[in-house]
């Protein structure tokens, strides 16, 4: 393995890491602020890709439109789910939220599989992002370069929004002590609802990013969600910066495994998870 090829693999790892980061970010936001372990996240990511496909097929709206519309549409379904179902569960144990969202994920995936089969649907890279950059040590597809930059931007913006703005401060305060924040005249339930919608929108956005490069199929979410959960556990449940850094970091580690011992590439993340749980059960960036 030459150094050049190694650089190529590191970059690839970063690309996958950007998906992990984007998805685990949504999970971390939802868990951090709502205390819900959102197992529907994978299905919502999948819905994002499918809605992008429908916009293309039925309305003739391409990729760029999809980036703007899809998070809103799928986020709105998230709002409905929160209002109708999740709301009832906040006072109960985490386990109930987990079971509910897991059940929903199975139902959504089943419905999509029933209607569209498992082989998936075609979706192409937008014209302006086809082609490759020759970096000397590898060919970087323009589209992948775009995905890294875009997801890095979104991750940092989300972190800034929650950790550094007044709105974020309200949100964090509302999770610590909802009654007190409400007493200051802030509509806490609505804020929580919108937060869930936002987290779901992030998943859908990742789905749009994924549509041109992965198979758009009902099982695309379930293949990814388990890894993403491992990322969240390693990073520390609820830690936003933690999930971003861990997402990118694990992408790179997985990429390197694909070179040195490809057979282990789909287990390496879980091995790391087991080790982290033994040494630091709250996760690398989590607080006790």
């Amino acid at each position: 393995m030459t150094t050049q090829a190694l650089f190529g693999q590191l970059l690839i790892g970063l690309i996958n890491g950007s998906f992990y980061a984007l998805l685990s970010l949504g999970l971390a936001v939802i868990f951090g602020l709502l205390n819900i372990i959102n197992f529907t996240h994978g299905a919502q990511y999948m819905m994002g890709a499918f809605v992008a496909y429908f916009l293309m097929q039925k309305a003739g709206l391409g990729y760029w439109w999809a980036l703007a519309i899809v998070p809103l549409v799928v986020g709105a379904t998230g709002v409905v789910i929160e209002r109708l179902m999740l709301k009832q569960l906040y006072k109960l144990d985490h386990l109930y939220g987990l079971l509910l969202t897991f059940g929903l994920a199975l139902i959504i995936e089943g419905l999509f599989r029933n209607s569209f089969g498992s082989a998936g649907l075609p979706y192409s890279i937008p014209e302006s992002l086809t082609g490759v950059y020759n970096l000397g040590f590898m060919y970087l597809p323009k589209y992948r370069g775009w995905v890294i930059l875009a997801s890095l931007g979104i991750c940092l913006a989300t972190w800034f929004l929650i950790e550094r703005t007044k709105l974020g401060a309200y949100l964090r305060a509302a999770t610590e002590n909802p009654a007190l924040v409400q007493a200051f005249g802030i509509n806490v339930p609505r804020m929580i609802t919108l937060t869930y919608g936002f987290g779901v929108g992030l998943a859908a956005l990742a789905g749009v990013f994924a549509a041109p490069i992965y198979q758009v199929s009902p099982q695309m979410g379930s293949s990814l969600i388990i890894v993403v959960f491992a990322v969240v556990v390693i990073g520390g449940m609820g830690s936003i910066m933690g999930s971003i850094i861990t997402g990118f970091g694990l992408g790179i580690i997985e990429g390197l495994t694909k070179v040195f011992y490809p057979e282990a590439s789909n287990t390496v993340i879980f091995v790391i998870m087991a080790i982290v749980l033994m040494i630091r059960p709250q996760g690398l960036f989590g607080q006790r």
């Binding site: 090829a5 190529g8 693999q9 690839i12 790892g13 690309i15 996958n16 599989r113 089969g117 498992s118 082989a119 998936g120 649907l121 075609p122 192409s124 890279i125 082609g131 490759v132 590898m138 060919y139 597809p141 589209y143 992948r144 490069i213 992965y214 198979q215 199929s217 099982q219 695309m220 293949s223 990814l224 990429g255 694909k258 070179v259 490809p262 057979e263 590439s265 789909n266």
Partner: protein, 404 residues
């Protein structure tokens, strides 16, 4: 004394045959179990479509008019050998299933092969590819209907080497099927004077192949051989176009590509792929008529060769059961091997003593979007490989049922 002994023998024989007469069709029902992937990466190439195909075979055989009660059950093996084994055992021991059909995923199929053999039932495999099922692991209770890795390697592999693709890099699914396909193709490439520059094994159901593709690109091999199937093939082809592998002068060879995969990829990504199938719906009037009926019952999805194989296999099985008036597994398979096969999808053919079903194979090329008249008009037949050349010579497989 001699006279008395003769009477005794005759009486014993009568008693035996009377006993056999009662045990002809177990439970008075012929029960067909369709065992496959119902929910994941192989669900579109088999899945519910295979159940539909089995039901169509029962209908076309006119089982009821012939006095046979035939039932179909199905289950999802989730691509796990332990789950598949458990279902097969339960079906046979507790639910009176007489024949298990389809079973894509060679890992699961090899497990079911052994169970069915131990329990002396019937296994008609359509979905799994490993040529070991009629080679080292062959069984008197198994018929391998549709295709196998040897046939794919010799169809697609040798056609590509002949076109000048003489250096290969394999991207292989890391389980029984991928290993068998890689092994059989490598043998063909080496025999035809080509060389193999390297290989990488990716876990089944991988989402991102870019790392593996980059390794293939770095190898500078002329051909990137995809020894994988279903969703894995779709993802690797989709991502290869992104990394400019084809533009860089390398070619992708999908060693096992189904009609459903081409549909999922779209013609603009799949065009120009060369592949081998043993069934395509647009071959003749009979296949077209059957495919239209099938699509109507299967959500407008056209049949893959796996689903066609389930239909033809069940049809031939029912003929054998009807001829024997028995569903005794080992005897039915013997009868299936004795009788020439004839069905609207694969035409006339036969089943060899090692369990290999013999029929022609078709080397096809995926059409350009401009050449296609509509959905599922995807293939251009380049060549027909005659039945006697399409499959591994019977002496080469190392099957114990073949007399040396």
């Amino acid at each position: 004394m001699i006279f008395k002994r003769k009477i005794l023998v005759a009486a014993a024989a009568m008693a035996l045959s009377a006993g056999a007469a009662q045990a002809q069709i177990s439970g008075n029902v012929v029960k067909i179990g369709v065992l496959n992937d119902q929910s994941s990466l192989y669900a579109d190439l088999g899945g519910q479509g295979s159940v539909t195909a089995a039901k169509m075979a029962i209908e076309d055989f006119k089982a009821k008019e012939k006095g046979l009660t035939v039932e179909v059950v199905f289950a999802d093996h989730q691509n796990k050998a332990d789950v598949g084994s458990q279902i097969a055992t339960k079906w046979i021991d507790a639910e009176g299933v007489d024949v298990i059909v389809d079973v894509p995923n060679s890992g699961v199929a090899l497990a079911v092969n052994q169970i069915v053999r131990d329990k002396k039932k019937v296994f008609i495999n359509s979905g799994a590819a490993s040529s070991d099922l009629t080679g080292a692991k062959c069984s008197p209770n198994t018929v391998h209907w549709t295709y196998d890795t040897w046939m794919l390697a010799n169809g697609t592999g040798s056609a590509i080497v002949k076109q000048g693709g003489d250096s290969w890099y394999f991207l292989t699914a890391d389980y029984a099927f991928g290993h068998a396909l890689e092994r059989d193709t490598e043998a063909v490439v080496l025999k035809s004077g080509g060389k193999v520059l390297g290989k990488v094994r990716a876990p089944i159901n991988t989402q991102d192949f870019s790392s593996f593709l980059l390794q293939a690109q770095a190898s500078k091999a002329k051909i990137v051989g995809l020894a994988n199937a279903g969703g894995d093939t779709i993802n690797s082809i989709k991502q290869a176009s992104e990394f400019g592998i084809v533009k860089g002068g390398q070619k992708m060879a999908g060693l096992l590509v189904f009609l459903s995969d081409v549909h999922g990829l779209g013609l603009d990504k799949a065009q120009g792929l060369i592949l081998t199938n043993t069934f395509y719906w647009d071959l003749n009037d009979q296949t077209r008529a059957w495919a239209k009926r099938f699509a109507a019952a299967n959500g407008n999805k056209y049949p893959t060769m796996v689903q066609a194989g389930v239909y033809a296999g069940v049809l031939h099985y029912l003929k054998a059961v009807d001829a024997l008036k028995s569903d005794d597994g080992t005897k039915v398979v013997e009868q299936m091997k004795k009788t020439p096969t004839d069905d609207p999808l694969f035409g006339k053919g036969s089943i060899r003593v090692d369990g290999r079903k013999i029929h022609p194979a078709y080397l096809v090329e995926v059409r350009k979007p401009s050449e296609s008249k509509g959905p599922y008009d995807y293939y251009k037949v380049l060549a027909t490989i005659p039945a006697d050349q399409a499959f591994r010579p019977i002496g080469d497989g190392g099957c114990e049922l073949v007399k040396k």
